[in-house]
């Protein structure tokens, strides 16, 4: 299987299913993941986050190579899972049972 991420981040390759390119899909993945899965991803990526951001920063935002774009998407997913992991202890924000807020457009990348 070919690598999705830059070689420097090969250790994050087991989590490359979190390279998801839109907010609705990232949110959906969060809703359907277990806390253990999200915790494992969070624990793996947060110590590497600063290096990953610095790596992405070597490229112009409007011309990112595919593997760097994947790394950006992985960082967006880190943000997405940080809420359940750091605060909620459940996928969904507490006290939000009946509400929804769909992201209908977002910047690319």
């Amino acid at each position: 299987m070919s690598a999705k991420l830059p070689a420097e981040f090969a250790d994050l390759e087991p989590f490359s299913d979190w390279c998801v390119d839109s907010e609705p899909q990232r949110y959906q993945k969060r809703m359907t993941s277990s806390m253990a899965q999200m915790q494992a991803f969070y624990d793996a990526i947060t110590p590497r986050a600063e290096e990953a951001i610095a790596y992405c920063d070597k490229f112009p935002l409007d011309d990112l190579p595919e593997d760097v774009t994947n790394l950006m998407h992985l960082l967006y997913s880190m943000i997405m899972v940080s809420f359940p992991v750091e605060r909620w202890k459940q996928p969904r924000v507490p006290d939000s049972g009946a509400s929804s807020l769909d992201c209908v457009s977002e910047p690319v990348p």
């Binding site: 907010e23 951001i53 935002l61 967006y76 929804s100 769909d102």
Partner: protein
């Protein structure tokens, strides 16, 4: 003990004596009859924001918008001269909706040289003029000049596109906005092109959601679990106070002080905020926007949190001290339902690092918004029970008082002017 000085009358509410200080009724949020009056008295008379010019950057760019409260769909288009036009989205031939994709009731957007009806290919130019009729000679005395698209009053202020469904608007857009709003002029709205749009269908009256976002008394309580315990505890003990409120005509403003979370102890922040250098208030690294217009940050707070401009009837421009802004629209669909739209606008990120800081602010916005939205159905259903008919509003909830009063006042004005007609 007040942290910020209040007006000489002793409170913000008493500073506007027409508001009174007694309990208020929310009858206007549970009554189908009042909703029908609002449609005629407010949504067919006031200027309504339908978006920004950046979404139609070039000649021929258009979008459609279903506006159920006004019982129509409109086309908003940039014409050859660069002006923005609005039309009712209906073909003059036999009433087909002119511009739509697969689903007749869903909005669409695109770019075109002319509008062609799907049904019999009647064509209209970007100024609404009827330019082509299929088999024109089969018609009887057809003067194409008389069958252009039906225009809707449309005007643009600081890149915000407004429409008005009145036969003849009672005020120009600028008069309607008034000085409190027009004093925002010069804010670099047009430079904020990194945009997130959110939408939800809400089972509550449109004014109840406006109310939820026009007071911050709720913030330390409803959102307590959003922050580390250390921070939430401090916030709850302090409570919420705004340094400035203002009411001008039908519009309202609340301005708040800010926090420099990055100067606080690390246990006041979440780890992700340190990683991304960002949070609810926006990226810590504030863009240089130059000198701000006179009407922005009126209390001259430093640090400054935000200004929330509540434009009557259903539009909010909220400017954050950290150099970005967002808008809210509340589109009624019945007396106890509406569509909420929240749009976040940041400056174009210069680097991936900037972009990641924006991502955290946007995701945080949604987490808060979900909690805010969830109170609404709970409130709507219980107000409808009728078990309680009067509700207490404190001084930090002054803007709610004004919205409901203004709504009643537009209805009364409309009824006065239509008596006997």
């Amino acid at each position: 003990m007040a942290r910020f000085p209040k007006p000489p009358e002793g409170s913000w509410t008493q500073h506007y004596p027409q508001l009174g200080t007694g309990p208020v009724s929310y009858e206007d949020s549970i009554s189908p009859e009042i909703y029908e009056l609002e449609r005629a008295a407010i949504f067919k008379r006031a200027w309504l924001n339908v978006g920004r010019v950046e979404s139609i950057p070039r000649k021929g760019c258009y979008f459609t918008k279903q506006i159920k409260v006004a019982n129509t769909s409109i086309i908003v288009v940039r014409n050859a001269e660069g002006r923005v036009n609005a039309f009712h989205n209906i073909c003059r031939h036999r009433g087909n909706k002119l511009v739509w994709n697969d689903m007749p009731l869903e909005d669409t957007s695109g770019v075109c040289r002319q509008f062609t009806c799907k049904y019999h290919a009647w064509r209209y130019d970007l100024d609404g003029k009827l330019t082509h009729v299929q088999q024109e000679s089969e018609f009887f005395d057809l003067d194409k000049n008389r069958y252009g698209l039906v225009p809707v009053y449309c005007d643009v202020w600081e890149g915000f596109i407004f429409v008005n469904f009145a036969t003849q608007p009672e005020q120009s857009l600028r008069e309607f906005l008034g000085p409190m709003i027009t004093d925002m002029e010069g804010y670099p709205f047009g430079q904020m092109t990194s945009r997130w749009c959110y939408r939800s269908e809400v089972n509550a009256n449109w004014k109840l959601y406006m109310d939820a976002f026009q007071e911050f008394y709720h913030a330390p309580v409803l959102h307590a679990n959003q922050s580390p315990t250390m921070y939430s505890k401090a916030a709850a003990e302090a409570g919420f106070e705004a340094p400035h409120y203002r009411i001008d005509g039908p519009h309202r403003l609340v301005s708040t002080s800010g926090v420099r979370t990055w100067e606080m102890d690390a246990d006041m922040r979440k780890p992700i905020e340190d990683i991304c250098q960002s949070g609810l208030f926006g990226p810590w690294d504030k863009p240089d926007l130059g000198e701000l217009p006179a009407g922005v940050n009126p209390a001259r707070c430093d640090p400054w949190g935000l200004d929330s401009f509540q434009l009557f009837p259903n539009f909010v421009i909220l400017i954050w001290g950290q150099g970005w802004y967002l808008t809210y629209h509340y589109w009624p669909t019945s007396y106890n339902t509406h569509v909420f739209e929240g749009t976040l606008y940041f400056p174009q990120p210069r680097t991936p690092r900037d972009r990641i800081a924006q991502e955290l602010a946007a995701v945080t916005f949604k987490e808060y918004g979900l909690q805010d939205a969830n109170t609404l159905e709970a409130t709507q259903s219980m107000i409808e029970s009728g078990a309680v008919r009067e509700f207490l509003l404190n001084d930090q909830e002054i803007l709610l008082r004004h919205l409901h009063k203004e709504t009643a006042s537009w209805i009364a004005d409309y009824q006065r002017n239509t008596v006997g007609v």
